[in-house]
């Protein structure tokens, strides 16, 4: 395929993905908005008013970046996992396999689709948060960079999950048993300075902690960890995950007999 044809193919996939999640918006866009509103009301407003300040910010302001990031992570991941697995399940993945599209375009199309949903939901949650707190972005470049990279990383993760999955249960295991606990333990609701030394050490091996804190740094200007290192780590993870996903796709893992 020449570069123009590749762009057309990539655009086709992205549009198809965006059309899919907007068609079923009550399942994809509405629930995270409602859930996050609940978090803001209960944790931020009701409980947060009794917690007091954290790292010099109101508790509501402190948890907003983490909650935005949580929405981006879960939505990027589950969009690609469920969409690609549905394509496998309905065998419509064959439409792509019989076409001349290179594997990296297929992967790129799904990842961009997942990122669009993740970032879209992130934006909705950000807008909802404005009803509860004032949001001034401290480092716009860091904020946009880290949220975009996180959306990319978890979209690729969702793709790998979908390739390996044999049934619908297999695509909900990782979000429920891995992503949600790691996100809750990734400093969304607290600063890891509050933890005993041992648990602080344990928290440092949680990759989501780095993303949440880097994003919080972008918005509030405070972080529990060095931000530069976090950005490099996320970038390396993206490259590694992309390479693994591409290798699996090239070999037809989970999609070719």
């Amino acid at each position: 395929m020449n570069p123009r044809q590749i762009l057309i193919a990539l655009w086709t996939l992205v549009v198809k993905e965006v059309r899919r999640f907007t068609r079923i918006w009550p399942q994809t866009l509405l629930p995270p908005s409602i859930t996050m509103t609940m978090y803001f009301i209960i944790f931020g407003n009701l409980i947060g008013s009794r917690v007091g300040e954290m790292d010099g910010f109101s508790y509501m302001a402190y948890i907003v970046p983490g909650l935005i990031m949580m929405s981006v992570i879960t939505n990027s991941y589950s969009n690609v996992a469920s969409s690609f697995f549905s394509n496998k399940f309905q065998r419509s993945v064959e439409e792509m396999m019989v076409s001349p599209m290179p594997s990296w375009v297929i992967l790129g199309g799904f990842v961009l689709g997942g990122m669009t949903r993740g970032l879209g939901v992130g934006l909705i949650v950000t807008l909802v948060s404005l009803f509860f707190t004032d949001l001034t972005i401290h480092h716009p470049l860091v904020t946009v960079g880290v949220v975009t990279m996180t959306a990319a990383l978890f979209s690729i993760g969702g793709f790998i999950n979908a390739l390996l999955a044999n049934k619908f249960d297999d695509i909900s295991i990782v979000p429920i048993f891995v992503l949600t606990p790691l996100t809750y333990l990734g400093g969304v609701f607290y600063s890891i300075d509050m933890l005993p030394d041992f648990w602080q050490g344990v928290s440092m091996i949680n990759p989501i902690l780095y993303m949440v804190n880097a994003f919080r740094y972008g918005i509030l200007g405070v972080s529990d960890i060095p931000v530069g290192g976090a950005l490099v780590a996320v970038a390396l993870f993206i490259m590694a995950f992309f390479a693994v996903a591409l290798w699996m796709l090239e070999r037809g893992k989970g999609i070719r007999s």
């Binding site: 123009r4 044809q5 193919a9 086709t12 065998r91 064959e94």
Partner: protein
Amino acid sequence: MTTPALSIRGLTKVYGNGFQALKGIDLDVPEGDFFALLGPNGAGKSTTLGIVCSLVQKTAGKVSIYGIDIDRDFAKAKYHLGVVPQEFNFSQFEKVEDIVLAQAGYYGMALREARPRCAQLLKDLGLWDKRNGPARMLSGGMKRRLMIARALIHRPRLLILDEPTAGVDIELRRSMWDYMRRINREEGTTIILTTHYLEEAESLCRNIAIINHGEIVKNTTVRELLTELDTETFLLDLAEPVDRAPRIEGFEVEQVERAQLALSLRKGQQLNDAFRQLSEQGVSVVSMRNRANRLEELFVSMVEGDNARVRQAEAGNKEAQS
């Protein structure tokens, strides 16, 4: 000599569980041909076509599409290929038109080029009125036609149809035949067809290959194959019921119903001879038809013969091992 549309050499497939689905088959499909690939279930048809379409990974062998080796440049070869699979393989929730246009996009076709082509195909295949509805609302026959439209959107030179008329009613099947004949004749599209309706293969195809147990057991023209038919069986509907089958010298006759006989006609025998003898016995025939399609009789006898050969070989192997 022109390059064949499809050339297969020594194609072998061994699945992960050790099952050898293809045992080094060779096959050539000439450009412009209407070619039938027949075989019982599990014979290796879908595996062969799956490899050609990149849905199945081959174990060994060479496949070329219009002279392009798929191991060297599969992407380029795929431009020549359109595929209509056995099972529905599109998103049931998407709109009919979107499914066809997305496929065009996967081939790098710009929308301004794809839209008129898509409209033409949907009109030709009787789906134009359904273009804005979700695919799940289509009937089974319409879903099959949608897959044909999708496969043709990028103007492939080689179209693979894996049981395209399965579960389609007779009227629709005939209209699909007419459409396939038209694109083969007028647009020069080479068509490879697998089907369980042997009447379909006889009516549409010029050349035929029969595959069984992962091997090509016959590869010839339909016309030549039919000359190998030793016996044809006709069903004769009688004007009056008879108590038992009349005796017809030189022919095998079986009573199917009180007013219906099955008459077997061997090569060289003449129906006139049988009718004369029936007439002499006061038996009138009001109508007559083939008991089975001619190709079907031949196919069944050929596959049964090959199955017996395989069983014998397996028994021989077991004996040698013990």
